[in-house]
Symmetry: C2
Subunit: 234 residues, 2 copies
């Protein structure tokens, strides 16, 4: 008896190190991978370039890039340029000011439509422990609820053709653990982008750059992005 | 003791007669109304004009119009011009070919983000009995699941600041019942648009036009749109 080939996977690919690691995990499944990159009017336009490079590197079956002009719709530090970016460090137990209303629900619902259209049954989301501690839409109970909703919401779900699963393989991992996992999988870190500022090179001051640097340092691995930008500065 | 004023309402406003009736119901609440119109690459560009006219007529606090280029992402008769439109009538017990993958989940998640940003706790969706019989994402169990998800997904939901409700007041109504309700509320039918074809005037042949005509006929009310287009043809 031969088992049927696995259905495809949709990866929400921002271009950051977490979604790149998810892409590497999805690629390992051996099923077609569909990458979905959503630019939602935020500052990280630079991330889109990284997402394209990663999608090419992993030879995805399709890479959908969707520009979603929801900045004026949703109030947040990430989508409104007038509000300052946080540089004060991440505090536990509070919802960070980088919270974007219903962000993951919007992303997951687009991924769900894309998955059903392509016959994919997995949706990979790069949410991790740092997000999990702060954002309501990164918690396991939220992700389970979305997965149940996905099965109720769709023709393929209701008819039992696709049994949708939301995969958040990094949810309980620290940045250092993600760096170690990505390193084992051969993730091309030099193609990824984390900085909130979105300049020509990482600012190395924003929370996102600091979390990335801490992760690489704790994992004992040199971040090629920082090495490259340090070399450029000389 | 005075009760606090009701929080605002978000109305998903397509420009059709169902969403126009929802808009009239939301306006009656006396709380600020925020209209959200999403053009998702489908044929009814004409509907957008109707949505704008309705939003103006009801003096909404804000009308967000979002162009969502998800046509290539989602396969459907409504989003792909190469597939013929259904003219064969709606059959019970089957999911119609006009089904768009995850459509309502995408629309509701955008409405949720908008609602949280504006401090609105109700989301009005014009799904009705005809949809309910065919589309998985119009069923009461789906709508209840989305409402639970909304409370888990958001800062305002988790912190108990807003208790989100999905309002689908037309869910169990026939088109004739919607016409009668809208008539009582004074819905300006001449501003609404139902035709799938999206021409200068209703085609009066597509399923949507036929359902509309049947609804008005059963309610014993003359549809000003048809009267106007009949007059024009003379």
């Amino acid at each position: 008896m031969t088992r049927p080939p696995p259905a495809g996977s949709v990866v929400l690919l921002s271009g950051g190190m977490d979604s790149a690691t998810c892409l590497a995990l999805a690629a390992k499944r051996g099923a077609p991978v569909y990458a979905l990159t959503v630019g939602y009017g935020q500052r990280h336009v630079r991330e889109l370039r990284s997402a394209r490079a990663l999608a090419r590197r992993y030879r995805v079956a399709d890479h959908a890039v969707l520009q979603l002009p929801i900045g004026p719709l949703l109030e947040s530090a990430l989508t409104r340029r007038s509000r300052p970016l946080p540089h004060s460090g991440v505090r536990a137990g509070t919802i960070p000011s980088t919270y974007v209303p219903a962000r993951n629900t919007i992303l997951l619902s687009l991924a769900l439509g894309y998955a059903e259209s392509r016959g994919a049954d997995r949706i990979y989301l790069g949410a991790n422990a740092i997000d999990y501690s702060g954002y309501p839409d990164c918690r396991p109970e939220y992700l389970r609820a979305f997965q149940s909703l996905a099965r109720l919401a769709t023709k393929a779900g209701v008819e039992g053709e696709l049994r949708f699963r939301v995969e958040a393989p990094l949810l309980r991992k620290s940045k250092a653990e993600i760096v170690r996992l990505g390193e084992r999988l051969g993730v091309p870190w030099a193609l990824t982008w984390s900085c909130y500022e979105g300049g020509a090179r990482p600012c190395e001051r924003c929370d996102s750059c600091r979390l990335r640097a801490k992760g690489f340092a704790e994992a004992g691995i040199v971040d090629p992005m920082v090495r490259r930008s340090a070399a450029r500065r000389r």
